[in-house]
């Protein structure tokens, strides 16, 4: 092929990209494959089996994982809903509220959970709850999750809202809609894809969190990541690989979903 003197292509960059993808995916794929390995502990391949998945659902630790999974899902659902609502209000105020004094401060505050290292949030939350005598447990996990899910929910909602010109609300008000109806009938449907994406991301973030949950969960209550971490400390058993594979698939499913929700939204716009 004639060598184009293109300024876009650099020799070797494709190899780097493939290397990058290989490094990101290799461990995940190998764990997925070995979750079907018919061997008790070692990593030598000894044939295909479903039994680790059976073990996850019906084995000795099944009850523990089931409770942990339920806790994870309930917490993630509530945290995602709450943070999406809070983030939506904040996004509407910040993006449609014109210029005002506390704007930069509010913006910084909303993104603060992204700036403070996770371990510091974990320590601070534990200290705070203990100082005010709040018993650690379900409620503390939930509160901490809502806080750090807010910026993740905020980002896609704000991005979406920024892409919607304020002329639509103005047109609605010109056509005799009150502020509330202009919001409900015009702006809300238009920003819904952003809210869905925000919800899903917040959901994944809450579902995935280990460090903060580990600090504020208190004794006796486990989420999936803390249960897995506890089990891994005893050694990586094949049922852990099976459960990891399942969680991995859930994450991939949710990301794909949020990706498509965003795309549908963009087409509509």
């Amino acid at each position: 092929m004639a060598s184009h003197h293109t300024v876009r292509g650099y020799p070797g960059f494709l190899s780097f990209t493939l290397l990058c993808l290989f490094m990101l995916y290799a461990p995940l794929i190998i764990v997925m494959v070995y979750s079907f390995n018919d061997s008790n502990s070692i990593s030598h391949w000894q044939g295909f089996t479903w039994r680790w998945y059976e073990d996850v659902f019906f084995g000795l630790e099944a009850a523990k994982f089931k409770i942990a999974a339920r806790n994870s899902l309930v917490i993630a659902s509530i945290a995602a809903i709450a943070s999406t609502l809070i983030a939506t209000c904040a996004a509407v105020a910040l993006i449609r509220g014109g210029h005002f004094r506390a704007k930069t401060a509010s913006f910084t505050l909303i993104n603060l959970p992204l700036m403070v290292p996770e371990i510091v949030i974990a320590v601070a939350s534990l200290i705070f709850f203990s100082a005010i005598g709040f018993k650690t447990g379900y409620a503390t996990i939930l509160l901490a999750h809502i806080v750090f899910c807010i910026p993740f929910a905020y980002l896609p909602i704000a991005a979406r809202l920024q892409g919607i010109e304020d002329i639509y609300e103005k047109a609605a008000m010109d056509l005799y809609a009150s502020r509330w109806r202009a919001f409900k009938l015009v702006l809300l449907p238009l920003m819904m894809p952003g809210m869905m994406a925000g919800f899903l991301l917040a959901f994944i973030i809450s579902l995935d969190d280990f460090i903060i949950t580990n600090f504020v969960k208190g004794a006796g209550i486990e989420t999936l990541p803390t249960a897995i971490f506890g089990a891994v400390k005893q050694g990586i058993k094949p049922n852990i690989m099976a459960i990891s594979t399942l969680m991995l698939l859930v994450s991939v499913l949710l990301v794909t979903l949020s990706h498509f929700v965003g795309r549908i939204g963009n087409k509509q716009k």
């Binding site: 990209t17 993808l21 990593s43 983030a87 904040a90 809502i146 579902l207 990891s244 991939v252």
Partner: protein
Amino acid sequence: MATVIAPNSTTAESSNHSSLVGNIRDWLLMPSWLVIGLFLVMPVLMMLVYSFLTKEFRGGVIWEFSLAAYDQFFIDRGLFGDEPIKIEWTYINIFWRSFWQAGLATTFCFLIGFPTAWYIATRTGNSKHIWLFLITIPYWVNLLIRTVSLKFLIRDNGPVNDWLLTLGAISEPLSIINTNLAVQLGLFYSYLPFMVLPIYASVERYNFALSEAAADLYAGRWTILAKIVLPAVKPGIIAGCILVFVPSLGAFLAPDLLGGAKNFMIGSLIEEQFKGNAGNWPFGAAISMILLSMVLVVLTYYARSQTRRENS
């Protein structure tokens, strides 16, 4: 064209009745202020207070002012506290190792992440979306699961050693796990997508006519890369570096699961003060404060450089 006639005129902004938000703006902001203020800002302040209190054995604190936590961090008074004052190196060394590991991880992430981001951003049409999607997926997969996967892969009796032994490439299993190398690998693997995405966003916005203009003026492609492209996409590179460096610095999972007891980083040190039996809450709070202030210095520097860029 417009004439200045009334610089202090009262504008209609405060009572603009055509704005959707209008006078309920503060009410809309209230929930986020309340939740983050009460459950993040307050806790951090409380942590600051705790770092100046006296420890209680078995965790918790006694409400008595004390500098013991910071003293323990910086000053060595000997085993019984009666020797001449020296600098305590134990914790400074852990910080130093964390900085070194985080810096190294950032460098490696950049070296692999930049070409990747560039390659993806220069694809066209659908293939760009597919590449980008492939990079995004690991970004959202549970960090714990990714770390566990890596641990499984590289442990002494893991598949890598198994294959290498089967192939006859090695006669003894390589011990990678529980070394600094394993931690490094873990950090690199954990935060690689954080480097690719912001650089990608920068390259996307890069005006390739600049490269063409440089090529037209006799610059070779590597000169163009160094002198034209890198300065132009610098904001993305800095953002990527911060997104890798800051979480690496406070990382807990990678050093804990891959590094074992010998390769402590700040995260594990902090965790130990709260989770272990030898809990020392004021000390843990003090280490967290030191970590937080270092991170805030980095972020402030970043914010400053951003503002300068916008102003120039």
